[in-house]
Each structure stands twice: as structure tokens, then as C-alpha cells.
Amino acid sequence: MSTTQGLHPNRRRKITGIGFRVGTYLALLLVVGPALWVLLGVVVRAVPHWQWSVLTTPTKGTTGGLENAIVGTLVIMLGVLILAGSIGVLAGIHLSELAKPRRNGKASGGLLRTASDVLSGFPSIVLGYCGYVALVVGLHWGFSLLPALIILSIMVIPYIAKSTESALRQVPDNYREGAAALGMSMGYSLRKVVLKTALPGIVTGLLIALAIASGETAPLIYTANFTNALPGASLIHSQGFAYLTYPVYTFYNQPNVQAHYIAYDAALLLVVIVLLLLVISRIIVARTQRYSESRGR
């Protein structure tokens, strides 16, 4: 700054302006760069040693493949979709459609909304600890699918509720009024008119929640732990449940090279799952936007 001190004030303003402009581009580079660097880093580490047998062999200690972890992560995603999806969407419907606004004009559900916000920022490892102490040990469920699903669902329900609520709020009120004027009952209008219109937004929120759930590690380590076995039919007492983030977190510092390869393969598969979910949600958003624009909104 001291070098610009002697300059004409306008010159100094101009230099600050240019510096700011360069700074913003640099900041953008510092966001986009690391994102691509992480993605490329995973690809570069995983692809040269990639073997398709990874998909069909379960882990054996720190070697083998990832079949059990892949199936496990898919089962966890399905479970979270059913458990957190139904509860979160219902909560979002309640906040947007059913709860009456309070007399002072404020939005409804102040305490419940605050609780939901606080829960969405609650440390995942603390929830995992509670799941371990209360469910795995306290209720003697052991490391298994159900405690993992409950803890993961607690984590993503606030997110699903919020995205559902904001999707429903974007449905124009005259849709609801039109449905009521046609004599539709509240439930019928909700199912056939309001939810149908908000569906793309709700689905997008669910997909992002699935991306969060598939990438979590901390809450799973002490609720599901890990096992070499493929997921069985039991929700509890299964002595461990496999998922993809576990090998990434624990296999990288094993002495054998195969363990490293499995860790990188698992990281690649996780990134592919997350990217797929993001791209699908993007396509849904783009398609509904085009659809609503073509109707002349």
C-alpha cells in the first residue's frame, strides 16, 4: 500500500479496483481449483490400479474387494431414503401447509424450527457416540444397520424438512385456492396439486440428503463398525455392517499396498455416487425450470 501512497487519488482508486477484481477471480480459482484437484487426485490414485473384480469380491481383512461395502452403502442409502425421507417430507409438509401461522404474523413452529436448525449443525461424531452408548451398547443392538440408520436419519431429517418446506412454499397460492374452489378436500388437493407441483424440489432435496448420508463416516464407525460379510437380512445383532467410507478412513495407513488400492477405489466409488446424485438433481432442476418457463410463467 505504501507505494501507492504518493499517487494521485484516482490512480489509487483504479489500482484498488483492479486489485479487487483480480482478487475475486483468484478467490474463485481457490474454490474451483481444490475441488477439481481433489477429484483428479482420487481418479489418479484409483484408476491406474482399478480392477473390476473389486465390485464382486468382499473385503478380506485389509485385502480383497469392496462388494460388501458397496452393497452396504446402497442399503444405507435406501434405508435413509425410507426412514429420513418419509419423516423429513412429512415435517416439511407440516411446516409449510398444515401448521397455522401465529397471531403475530410470525412463521409457525418457532421452537420446533429452532430445534431442527440446531440439530442440522449438531456434531455428527457426538450423535454417533450417543448411538453407540444408547443403542449399540445400551439396548444391546450391537454394531448393525438399525442404529446406523437412526443416527444418519437424525442428521439429514432437518435438511430434508427444510428443502421440502421451501419447495412447497414455491407452489403459487392460487393453485391451492383453485383446488379448494373446485371442492377438493385438503388431503386430495395436497396429494394431487400441491405435492405434485413441488415434487422436483422435494426429490432434489432427497438426492442431496442421500449424497450427505453416503459420504458420512464419523457417525457410522461406532454404530455400524465394519464387517467382511455381505449385508444380511437382520436390522440388529449383525456384528458389524459394511459401508464405503470405512476403508477410506482406515486402510490408507496399512502396510500392504492392496489396502491402499482398496482405500482409493472406495474413495473413487464414493465420488462417483455423489457426482451422480448431484448431476441427477441438477438435471431435474433444469428440466422443471424449462417446463415452467415454456408454460409462460
Binding site: W37, V126, V133, G187
Partner: protein
């Protein structure tokens, strides 16, 4: 006639009960987050109570972290059994948590605001849309993958090429000499943990700031530019003040995320329970300690170590609840004052 009325009554009943089912199910669902929060805090309090009783205030002010001897005698203090020599003070762990999150905020806030500004105010849509997708990707990458990248790629590069230059050239005066001294060869430590955390909270702050910038009406900005203001002056006098509390709220939300982040920190921090002598040395955070110590704590047959981890979790829970309430308060106030501003 009569049967028609009867059928209508059934239909009305079905309608009413459908509405009733929606309402009851919705009310149950919307209460669950509060129940879950109460469940978590109750578990921590009940499980941690013996540790809170025995460790006392020393837990917040002490710096020794000693599980005691598993082979020694079991001692009873205030009726609570714990191994001989066990002593727990979490000050170094708590300060490590705050230090790494502070670095993350210092790194993430300016980068997020700058990137959001470039995306909304400078670049045409056909470039800013795909580049903006990078923010979503960064938000979606699992934290364990970012942690592994920080450990295997970023850390070693920084430890080889960047940290030694800083460590050798920073002035040897109080405060600034925190940046001097030995550099851990793997790059694991406070600085790398802070940088990785910063990278992880950038998406939260940047995406909110981008949405906020898009809500600033164009007329004041155009007016300012027409008066001859430079980009910097428009940003710093018009755009940023317009949405300031929204940005602060998003930053505090990011802080909350950084305080609670676990796996990535466990990978890049070096997991050392104690004060970091300089910014490049090993440290740990509350979340990483709970993750890495629970296995070992199970060895303590009296269960006192597991109870102490519950107390540690309670400290983190209280910090993050307070931070989230603060963020909510700031965002709530801003949306009450200005036009629609907030992370929705």
C-alpha cells in the same frame, strides 16, 4: 335419498380422517428433531455425569490427559470408580478446536465472498453456471475423501515447499513467532487442519453469499457505478453492506460445521493431545479426540474414560448449539429488517 346422504357422510368422514392423518403424521414428524436433540443431550448428561462430578472445573482448565493405569488399583472419588492416576483436563483439546476453526474462518470467508462476487457480478452466466457447480461438488465430496487428499496430497506439498519458507522467515516477536519453528514432515498439524476445514466450509458460505448477492437490487449498484465508483467501491459500499448480516450468519453456520467436523481433522491434525507449540505442529480437536479415543477408552474397565468422552462431547455439543443459535439469531434479525435475506 336416505342412502345418498349415508354415502355422503362416509365420504365426508373419509375426507376428514385423511386430513386428520396428514395433520397427526406431520405433527409427529416435525417434533422428531426436538426429540432427537433431547435424546442426545440426555445421553451425554447421564453418561457423562460421573465424569463431570469427578473431573470438576479442572476439566475445562487443566491440560493433562491421562487414562491412568489399567493394572493399578481402582479408586473411588465421590462414589465414582476410576483407575489410579487417571486425570482429565481438556483445555488443550478445546483450544485446538477453536484454533483450527478460527483458521478455517479466516481462510474461508474472504475466499467465499470473493468467489461469490466473481460468480454473480462479473462473469457471464454461461461461465458462472458450470463454475458454480464446482461449489456444489466441493460440498458433496465426502469429508473422508477431502481428509485423505489433505493427508496424502496437500499436506506433504505444503510441508515441503510452503511451510519451511514461512517458518524460517517470520519475525521472531511475540504472537508472530507462533508461525516459526519445527515443521512436521508429513504436513499434519494445526495449519493443514485449518486449511482443510476452510475448504470444507467454503461451499456453505459461498453458496449462501452467492444467493444473497443475487437478491441485491440492481438499481443501487448501477447508480453507484454511474457515479463513477470502481468495482471495489460498489462491492464494499453497496453490495456487501446490503446483505452483511446474511453473510455473517452463513459464516457462523460454517464455523459450526468446522467445530464439529471429525474424520478430515482426525486424518490431517496429527492427533496429538496437547497444545500446539507452533502453527505447523500436531494437535487435535474435540470431535477428532472422541473418534480416535473411544476404542482405547473402552479398555478402562471402570467406564470412567468413556464417561469422560461423554463430557467432552457435551462441551462440543454446547459450543455448537450456542454457535447455531447465534447464527439463527443473526439471520433471523436480518430477514426481519431487510428484504428477503437468508439462506433459504
Amino acid at each position: 335419498m336416505r342412502s345418498g346422504r349415508f354415502l355422503r357422510r362416509i365420504a365426508d368422514g373419509a375426507r376428514a380422517s385423511e386430513e386428520g392423518i396428514w395433520k397427526v403424521a406431520g405433527r409427529v414428524a416435525v417434533t422428531l428433531p426436538l426429540v432427537a436433540l433431547a435424546f442426545a443431550l440426555t445421553v451425554l448428561l447421564v453418561k457423562g455425569y460421573p465424569a463431570i462430578k469427578v473431573n470438576g472445573w479442572k476439566f475445562l482448565t487443566g491440560t493433562t490427559w491421562n487414562y491412568g493405569s489399567g493394572y493399578g488399583a481402582t479408586i473411588h472419588t465421590d462414589g465414582v470408580a476410576h483407575p489410579q492416576g487417571s486425570s482429565f483436563g481438556a483445555l488443550a483439546i478445546i483450544s485446538g478446536t477453536l484454533q483450527s476453526s478460527a483458521i478455517a474462518l479466516i481462510v474461508a470467508v474472504p475466499i467465499s465472498i470473493g468467489a461469490a462476487f466473481a460468480l454473480t457480478e462479473r462473469l457471464p452466466t454461461w461461465i458462472s453456471k458450470p463454475l458454480g457447480f464446482a461449489i456444489e461438488i466441493l460440498a458433496g465430496i465426502p469429508s473422508v475423501v477431502i481428509g485423505l487428499w489433505g493427508l496424502l496430497t496437500l499436506g506433504p506439498i505444503l510441508a515441503r515447499d510452503v511451510y519451511p519458507v514461512i517458518a524460517n522467515n517470520f519475525p521472531d516477536v511475540p504472537v508472530l513467532n507462533f508461525f516459526r519453528g519445527a515443521v512436521s514432515p508429513t504436513g499434519q498439524g494445526l495449519m493443514t487442519a485449518g486449511l482443510v476445514l476452510g475448504l470444507m466450509i467454503i461451499p456453505i458460505i459461498a453458496s449462501t453469499t452467492r444467493d444473497l448477492f443475487q437478491q441485491v437490487p440492481p438499481l443501487p449498484k448501477e447508480g453507484a457505478a454511474a457515479l463513477g465508483m470502481t468495482d471495489w467501491e460498489v462491492a464494499h459500499k453497496i453490495t456487501i453492506p446490503w446483505v452483511r448480516s446474511g453473510i455473517i450468519g452463513a459464516s457462523v453456520l460454517g464455523l459450526g460445521r468446522a467445530l464439529g467436523e471429525t474424520v478430515a481433522v482426525a486424518l490431517v491434525s496429527g492427533s496429538f493431545i496437547g497444545f500446539a507449540p507452533n502453527i505447523f505442529s500436531h494437535m487435535t480437536t474435540i470431535a477428532a479426540t472422541i473418534l480416535t479415543q473411544l476404542d482405547g477408552a473402552e479398555i478402562d474397565g471402570t467406564g470412567f474414560a468413556v464417561a469422560t468422552l461423554a463430557e467432552l462431547g457435551l462441551v462440543l455439543a454446547v459450543i455448537s448449539v450456542l454457535v447455531n443459535l447465534l447464527a439463527r439469531f443473526i439471520i433471523g434479525r436480518s430477514s426481519a429488517l431487510g428484504p428477503s435475506v437468508g439462506p433459504n
